[in-house]
């Protein structure tokens, strides 16, 4: 970190980029960070339309995400199963469950219900993830969904505990639709999100026996950070947060479960409730810089900035009513964001890597939802299922030999033509349906590579390096590519394939 607040003042750092510094490279840097890729046509477009217009497009309106029909089908099935159970009728058993149980086993209806529901949940969740990836892969949606992923990595819930895919979707959708709201308001709304209520045990927090889980995380991870509250603040806040339950998939305040007495939080006393906790928190100075710090760790750099920059950014954010979209605008239009040391210096998340590949190659998200999920899991990021309430730590934690191998495997898969005859009938059906819906392009076959192969070696190297690498295209890459093309045996199209595959697996391509 070469930043020196004495030479490059915090006010200067967060003031808008000078027009003369806006160029193609800056546009590429912006695209890599707010979305998942910087394809040449987008770089061109963004450069021409300018920074403000680009940020307006990205964060000016909320783009609605429609969950897949299979989620509605799951919700329907869930209520049928539960209603059937109440009526005493044995619920229908799915084929897979029947096979697993084996013939002749007497499985009681209650157990059968749980097993069936479990299986339905898993499948519906994977289909939901696939639909979301498809949505996020549309370049116009990418910035919004990347911001949603950021918020979801702060206001964490995990599928492994919540299980119900509808709850997960509702929680994520709540984050997606509230980024133009003040952050304290988002905290208030999230306190009543059924997924959150379940994930951090608010539903078990009752007067007399408060559960401190949510109260602790809201201060430690969501708003203030360690060291900016006392254990007593948590205990008292936990009492204020009692009484929240889930009724009909809605958060609900059950007054009789609430601790209706005086609490003392941050030295202030009153008969506080959930909303008061959020208001009290945002009177604390640490609340001004905590989310901005996490924002910068996600969008700017794994290294923390010197404190004066954070204080200034926090002050500006609080003047902007703690609105998340305003924070994004300040950062993405700042002089600091475009400094050379921040370019090409972040490691792509697995989701970014996968969606970036899709966008760079003009491929569709694979319709094989279980495969997509498994691949991301191998790369270390199960969508909407972080390992714990801290979320993914990100940065260098994404990379080890296993996840590197998984990333390479992902590229290989995208370059190996699908042999449809080897697919099960189920998968063939999915592929066909995707093709009919215009989303069936899932592999780089030779026809697609031919355009590139028709170019000269020099042109191939230039095209690949200029289009796909976030940092400066080094001469060393060019030399290696030219040497490989020139001196290697084999069909030209195969050599081109080798070059492209290796480039997408290369260290530089993992950077953004």
């Amino acid at each position: 970190m070469t930043l020196d607040p004495a030479k490059f003042t915090p006010t200067q750092a967060w003031s808008p980029l000078k027009p003369e510094d806006w160029n193609q490279d800056a546009a590429r840097h912006l695209l890599h960070r707010i979305g998942f890729s910087a394809t040449p046509d987008r770089v061109d477009q963004v450069f021409k339309q300018g920074l403000q217009k680009t940020l307006d497009d990205a964060f000016g309106t909320v783009r609605p995400f429609t969950p897949p029909e299979s989620l509605a089908a799951y919700v329907q099935k869930r209520s049928e199963l539960i209603a059937g159970q109440r009526m005493g009728a044995p619920p229908p058993l799915s084929n897979k469950a029947a096979i697993r149980i084996g013939q002749g086993a007497a499985i009681p209806p209650q157990r059968q219900l749980a097993m069936d529901l479990n299986q339905l949940q898993q499948q519906a969740f994977h289909e939901f993830v696939q639909a979301w990836l498809t949505f996020a892969a549309q370049p116009e949606n990418s910035p919004q969904e990347n911001l949603t992923m950021f918020l979801a990595n702060v206001l964490v819930v995990a599928q492994s505990k919540v299980k119900d895919p509808e709850r997960i979707h509702n929680h994520i959708n709540l984050l997606r639709t509230s980024f133009q709201q003040p952050y304290p308001q988002i905290i208030k709304v999230v306190t009543y999100s059924p997924a959150m209520i379940q994930y951090l045990d608010l539903n078990t927090s009752v007067v007399g026996v408060p559960n401190e889980n949510f109260a602790r995380e809201v201060m430690e991870l969501f708003t203030l950070g360690e060291g900016h509250y006392t254990e007593n603040d948590i205990k008292e806040a936990a009492r204020a947060l009692t009484g929240i339950v889930v009724v009909n998939e809605q958060g609900f305040f059950a007054r009789r479960r609430w601790d209706n007495t005086v609490k003392t939080i941050f030295g202030k006393s009153g008969n506080f409730g959930a909303a008061d906790v959020a208001d009290l928190i945002f009177q604390e100075p640490a609340a001004r810089t905590h989310l901005p710090k996490r924002f910068l760790a996600y969008f700017l750099s794994p290294d923390a900035l010197p404190a004066p920059y954070m204080t200034e950014l926090g002050n500006q954010w609080s003047h902007n009513q703690f609105r998340v979209d305003q924070l994004a605008r300040t950062v993405f239009s700042s002089q600091l964001f475009y400094r050379p040391e921040f370019r090409g210096a972040m490691i792509k998340t697995p989701i970014q890597y996968y969606l970036g590949l899709c966008q760079d190659l003009s491929l569709d998200v694979s319709p094989f939802e279980n495969l997509v999920y498994q691949n991301l899991k191998s790369m270390g990021q199960e969508p909407f299922n972080p390992p714990n309430v801290r979320g993914w730590l990100g940065g260098k934690n994404w990379i080890n030999s296993s996840t590197f191998a998984a990333r390479r495997q992902q590229v290989q898969q995208m370059f190996n033509p699908t042999n449809t005859r080897n697919l099960t009938a189920d998968l063939q059906g999915k592929l066909l349906a995707a093709q009919q819906a215009g989303h069936g392009e899932i592999t780089m076959d030779n026809t697609r590579l031919q355009k590139l192969a028709d170019k000269s070696d020099e042109e191939i190297a230039s095209a690949l390096l200029n289009y796909y690498l976030a940092g400066e295209a080094t001469d060393a890459y060019r030399a290696d590519i030219l040497d490989y093309m020139k001196n290697n045996q084999g069909q030209r199209i195969e050599l081109v394939r080798d070059v492209v595959v290796a480039l997408f697996q290369s260290p530089s391509y993992h950077l953004c």
């Binding site: 149980i101 084996g102 086993a105 007497a106 499985i107 009681p108 157990r111 097993m115 492994s160 505990k161 794994p302 040391e341 090409g344 210096a345 972040m346 490691i347 899991k377 191998s378 270390g380 390992p387 714990n388 309430v389 801290r390 940065g395 260098k396 934690n397 990379i399 080890n400 030999s401 296993s402 996840t403 590197f404 191998a405 390479r408 495997q409 290989q412 940092g471 400066e472 080094t474 060393a476 890459y477 290696d480 590519i481 040497d483 490989y484 001196n487 290697n488 045996q489 084999g490 050599l495 080798d498 070059v499 290796a502 480039l503 697996q505 290369s506 260290p507 530089s508 993992h510 950077l511």
Partner: protein, 425 residues
């Protein structure tokens, strides 16, 4: 092969040092070498490669039913709790003492127990048990209290601690190897580590072409990995990729060349352990291995499925131990099983068992101080729908392993002191 105009990467540090010794400077073959190469070159000596002890963890994923594994055959309550699942024919059991016996398919493990190379630790668990697979696995793998949340695993913490101060990768070999598709939480650490995965579908990805002059062509990714990166993050990526490529080639060579007279079961666990033997026998400096056997979540129609799993476990562990012995490595390796929880003592209405609490845990080595059964048979005199009570905190087992086997201060990894157990000396 050797007339390649560009020398290929060395695949071991020894090979590297040999090449350097022969007058090939570091820069002769790479503008950007993996960390282990540069570090070793700077130090000009190889890291110590003495006979270090190795730990192999075997996760029985899903929650192993302890009572049908180590059967309390002398306790009538067992048969009362398990009218359908209980193993009634005592002659098929392998008695360990007057109270408990290993299940019928576990003859191989029983033999090892007789030889003092296999110990059963009874009633292992922790206070305030959690019955969620996810959460309880996390508690075991991070070695946390039931109400605390840690993100790093106990082996990750061990490696963070023990390797503090040492050059990050003075060692060319991975510090941990896992057979699972993803990195086990046991390994997650604060500082990035050189871990390596050898899951079932592990294979080298790179196509090897030939140059027009007939020589072997170095894969392009190898070339890319050597390019000097522009910044610190890129530096880290290049290092990691280079380490991975080097290890991948080396591991592939070892696995391909491995020959043994021992027959391993064909199921994934046996095959993983066979790979582990080949890597240990090849002299990898890796000290921690992680393997997994899945399928223990036996809620319905448990009997046959569970006994089959146990047979596979028993035969796989025994093959592993025999193969290690054939290499003279059986005293250098400690194997330890764990599972996120045991199952309920009473059978359920689907001829299965539901998530429970404490269960037995196995340790195996030629260097055990005490084999056989450690701890008493579970107390089955419990209220209706009650559960087993743990007697040994799983962190006592970890503390023993850390202290006596890995020779490190257990409190630095576990954060508190635990009474150690007598299976190691």
């Amino acid at each position: 092969m050797n007339n390649s105009p560009r020398p290929r990467l060395p695949t071991t540090r020894r090979e590297f040092l040999r090449m350097s010794g022969a007058g090939l400077g570091l820069l002769a073959f790479s503008t950007y070498a993996p960390r282990f190469l540069t570090d070793a070159a700077a130090a000009n000596v190889p890291a110590p490669e003495k006979d270090k002890r190795i730990l192999v963890l075997v996760q029985l994923a899903g929650g192993n039913d302890g009572l049908n594994t180590v059967v309390p055959y002398a306790d009538d309550l067992y048969y009362k709790l398990r009218p359908r699942l209980g193993i009634k024919d005592v002659s098929t059991l392998h008695k360990l003492d007057d109270h408990v016996a290993l299940a019928p398919p576990c003859s191989a493990m029983a033999n090892l127990a007789k030889e003092g190379k296999f110990a059963v630790l009874q009633n292992v668990g922790y206070p305030n048990p959690n019955r969620s697979h996810f959460r309880s696995s996390e508690i075991w793998e991070t070695a946390s209290d039931a109400d605390a949340f840690l993100s790093d695993g106990w082996m990750g913490r061990y490696l963070d601690n023990c390797c503090e101060g040492a050059p990050d990768d003075a060692n060319s070999d991975p510090v941990g190897i896992h057979s699972t598709l993803t990195l086990p939480q046991t390994f997650s650490a604060n500082d990035p580590k050189n871990y390596f995965g050898i899951s079932g579908n592990f294979r080298g990805f790179q196509r090897q072409h030939r140059r027009k002059d007939g020589a072997a062509f170095k894969p392009l990714l190898d070339e890319f990995a050597e390019i000097k990166p522009a910044n610190d993050t890129g530096n880290f990526l290049s290092h990691t990729l280079m380490d991975a490529l080097v290890t991948e080639k080396r591991v592939q060579q070892i696995l391909d060349a491995y020959q043994t007279t021992v027959t391993y079961p064909n199921a994934p666990l046996g095959q993983s352990l066979k790979r582990v033997t080949s890597l240990i026998a090849a002299g990898l400096e890796t000290r921690v291995y992680f393997c997994q056997q899945t399928g223990y979540d036996t809620h319905a129609n448990q009997f046959n499925n569970h006994q089959k799993l146990l047979g596979d476990l028993s035969d796989s562990l025994a093959a592993f131990q025999a193969d290690l012995a054939a290499h003279g490595l059986d005293k250098q390796v400690l194997t330890m099983t764990f599972s996120e929880f045991g199952r309920r003592p009473y059978e359920n209405d689907a001829q299965g068992t539901d998530h429970g609490t404490a269960a037995p845990l196995f340790v195996m080595s030629g260097a055990l101080k005490q084999g056989g059964v450690i701890g008493e048979a579970p107390n089955l005199n419990i209220p209706a729908k009650g559960d087993l009570t743990y007697k040994i905190d799983f962190r006592q087992v970890y503390a023993t392993v850390l202290d006596k086997w890995m020779e490190t201060d257990p409190t630095s990894v576990l954060g508190q002191k635990f009474t150690e157990l007598p299976f190691l000396g």
